[in-house]
Symmetry: C2
């Protein structure tokens, strides 16, 4: 029996094994198909990723071709390393990040090279040189912990340690001056290729990304808020809406966008003027708007908790507060969407003012409603959820106003165009159109004039600059 | 007159200039003193930073010394670059990050070297080789956008591009097999030096940092909550407390800790067993606890808004709800602090249960209070702030319970020790003492046994393992 069962097991094992082997190609194919779908989605979400990959390939091929043609390089074997390495490590997604890294690398190589040569000649003996390597690596590594240095010069410190060590140590074996000079020149070639390819071919500007991210975040808050009131009272009314309510959760991505906003602002500071953004554009103010938006998102997160709460406002309470609450959420949502649009097309955000006034008057209304005597017979426990929602909404209205103020500040510092009275908000909406958009494009070379006019509140003039600037944006 | 005033201006200019020059050394000194103070603070906040800097210095000096002694290196000039570069780029603050980067670099170099040699021999002509460089750089760069690859293998992709390009391109000029082999061996030496120095000398474990960070965050939430009730009703009572209330704002750092938690968990996955953490410790569960803690922090942020609100609860309302609200905030604060302590010393978090029960009964109380008829003559507007605070606190109590559940899950998966009934909570507190702490230290080499016992709910045995493990933690 034992033997039989054993052979049965064996047969089972083989059958299993065979079916597993048979399933293998199917599984492999499914995996590949899944991966291919992921990759396709990745490219469709942001086609700039495909372009970026092609650009990196191009830059690397250019440097390799220079190497193959033996141009520029004296010592073919060693120096190619530096050019290729520079391209791989410096080429980043946005122009600002690439420029920042390139400048960091160039400056650090120059400084470390000079100090390394000095140290080599001063120190003389190998023990002292090794001690100097130890000392500079320790000090530089520690300085990298300083927040200010970490934010903007981290890469420079890394390259400084690298170059200093290699220059001093390589002095043991070879002509130190020649090696330092060849290193500097190949690093410069690599960095120059990166920067030129990055700027000339479909440039991705960190500043523009920051601008769009802030506008998008505020729009998401607006969408979530605008729908909240209706959804909440529908649910308390017992209706179950089954359509896609994903837009209600749009605010969630705003909760954790602090890091990306900060790094984009850091990169943007390295960028020259481009498209609609002159040199010296107030990037830091975007961070201020972003922080307020995030604080508003925390309130919306609290509100959203009430959408799915066990205890819902009773229908009596709902009837009383519904109108004012819906108005508060709808109007502040609308005002946020207007503010987002104003940022997007760079005009003064005055079209949001009326919505903010409406939201504020609704907040006033609900306060006086709650003051009135109509609550006396109502069980307070049933009042709580509705009243809490109302109270958080009042808070949200306050934040909407703060966001609006910060955007006004941004608009005046960045000289956003003021909307003519003839351009009604409706027209503006349909008018995410070419005329408004192109009218906003600042001519880059006029920056000097813009700066001189910066004491005036009026926006920069825009003659026939639009085509030129948009051409520049396309990177021709 | 004009001339006189002109000369007066000139004199003024010179006086100004002179006083500016005089002030220069003072200013410079003040700047230097300020910077020195910053640097000192940086070291005092976390002395491991100083140790890390010294370790980097040491690793770099070791590699340089090997180079100087001409050990291992065949081609002195070229190969030193790879060892020095590996140390500078791979050495990170924690063991996990260093190991992850080292393994990434080693594997990528191996794979890219093999493929590069293959490509070189298959392609033959330079045009085809340059095309292959372009192709692999484009594809690899694009794959770096895949979230899964970006999280764990970003550095490997970078090194793959670098090595493949350099191996294939350098084939134009030299013996490709020799260059690939020397590159691999020097990279290995550099990576080995990094890993050994990182693990042997005062190792910093990302896993331990994650463990402590989560415990600290929950403790901060607890501190903020515990003090909130008293502070709120003091202020509504018109009292202005002037002492330092910074601990109330401790929760703020929890709002934005998502990124650091995620990267620590990523690094921890690379680490071998160490100290109290066996291999296969459930690091992902820490992220779950962290997410719940953050959601709780959003609620506390909303609560905090009411501390400084214009409209405060009236004293009549305060009198009614004060007791229950204070109890809710105090008890959920205490339970969070117990939970944090339980994580810290790795015991089952049962000491928090009673506090959670207290908080829940207070929440029940306030619900029935609000149901009672005593509210009928009160202006509802004055009720709102107090009632909202109460309502958010009820929400916070719910989250406290969720956090507790997730920590129970962590405790059972990670086999935290259960507290004996003789060990009263009080004893536990005074007992952040050696006996409990050292009793928790798992003997690393016993991991196999722990795994086999993992179906049992009992904690791992701890014989005389403590001294050994703690010795290992000190890195001897």
């Amino acid at each position: 029996m034992e033997v039989a069962s054993g052979s049965g097991d064996k047969a089972g094992f083989f059958t299993q094994g065979r079916s597993w082997l048979k399933a293998l190609p199917v599984k492999f194919k499914a995996n590949m198909v899944g991966m291919a779908r992921n990759i396709k989605k990745l490219g469709q979400e942001d086609p700039r990723r495909v372009v970026h990959s092609l650009k990196v390939g191009l830059a690397l091929t250019l440097v390799s071709t220079l190497y193959y043609l033996r141009l520029f390089y004296k010592n073919y074997r060693l120096d190619a390393i530096w050019a290729v390495m520079t391209v791989v490590l410096v080429f980043e997604f946005s122009v600002g990040a690439t420029l920042g890294k390139g400048l960091n690398r160039g400056m650090a190589t120059l400084l470390a090279g000079a100090l390394g040569i000095g140290a080599h000649y001063l120190a003389g003996g190998p023990i002292l040189i090794l001690f100097l390597v130890f000392l500079q690596a320790t000090i530089s590594t520690f300085l990298r912990f300083l927040p200010k240095i970490k934010a903007r010069y981290d890469y420079a410190m890394l390259i400084f340690i690298l170059t200093f060590s290699m220059i001093t140590v390589s002095g043991f074996q070879e002509n130190i001056l020649e090696s330092a000079q060849s290193r500097l020149s190949t690093v410069s070639i690599g960095a120059a290729v990166c920067v030129i390819v990055s700027i000339v071919i479909f440039p991705v500007w960190a500043g523009e990304d920051l601008h769009n991210l802030i506008a998008l975040n505020i729009e998401k808050l607006g969408n979530s808020l605008e729908g909240f009131g209706d959804e909440y009272f529908k649910r308390t009314g017992g209706e179950e809406s089954k359509d896609d309510k994903k837009f209600l959760e749009g605010y969630k991505s705003v909760l954790n966008s602090k890091k990306s906003e900060e790094s984009l602002a850091n990169f943007a500071a390295w960028e020259p003027c481009h498209g609609r953004f002159p040199f010296g554009h107030p990037w830091k103010l975007y961070l201020k708007v972003g922080t307020l938006a995030r604080e508003c998102a925390y309130r919306i997160e609290a509100l959203n908790g009430y959408l799915n709460a066990d205890i819902q406002a009773s229908s009596e309470v709902s009837n009383i507060i519904q109108e004012a609450c819906t108005k508060m959420s709808r109007e502040s949502g609308k005002s946020l969407k207007e503010l987002a649009l104003a940022i997007k097309i760079m005009v003064q955000p005055s079209s949001a003012d009326s919505h903010i006034e409406n939201a504020k008057s609704a907040a006033k209304n609900i306060k006086s409603l709650l003051k009135s005597g109509m609550w006396e017979d109502i069980d307070l426990l049933k009042v709580i959820p509705g009243v809490t929602v109302a109270s958080i909404l009042i808070d949200v209205v306050t934040y909407t106003e703060k966001i609006s103020e910060s955007i006004y500040e941004l608009a005046s510092k960045a000289q956003f165009k003021s909307v003519e009275p003839t351009l009604s908000p409706k027209k503006l909406h349909s008018g995410q159109n070419q005329s408004v958009k192109s009218a906003q494009i600042v001519n880059c070379p006029d920056v000097g004039i813009n700066v001189r006019e910066s004491t005036l509140p009026s926006p920069p003039s825009e003659n026939s600059s639009a085509p030129k600037a948009s051409k520049q944006r396309m990177g021709v």
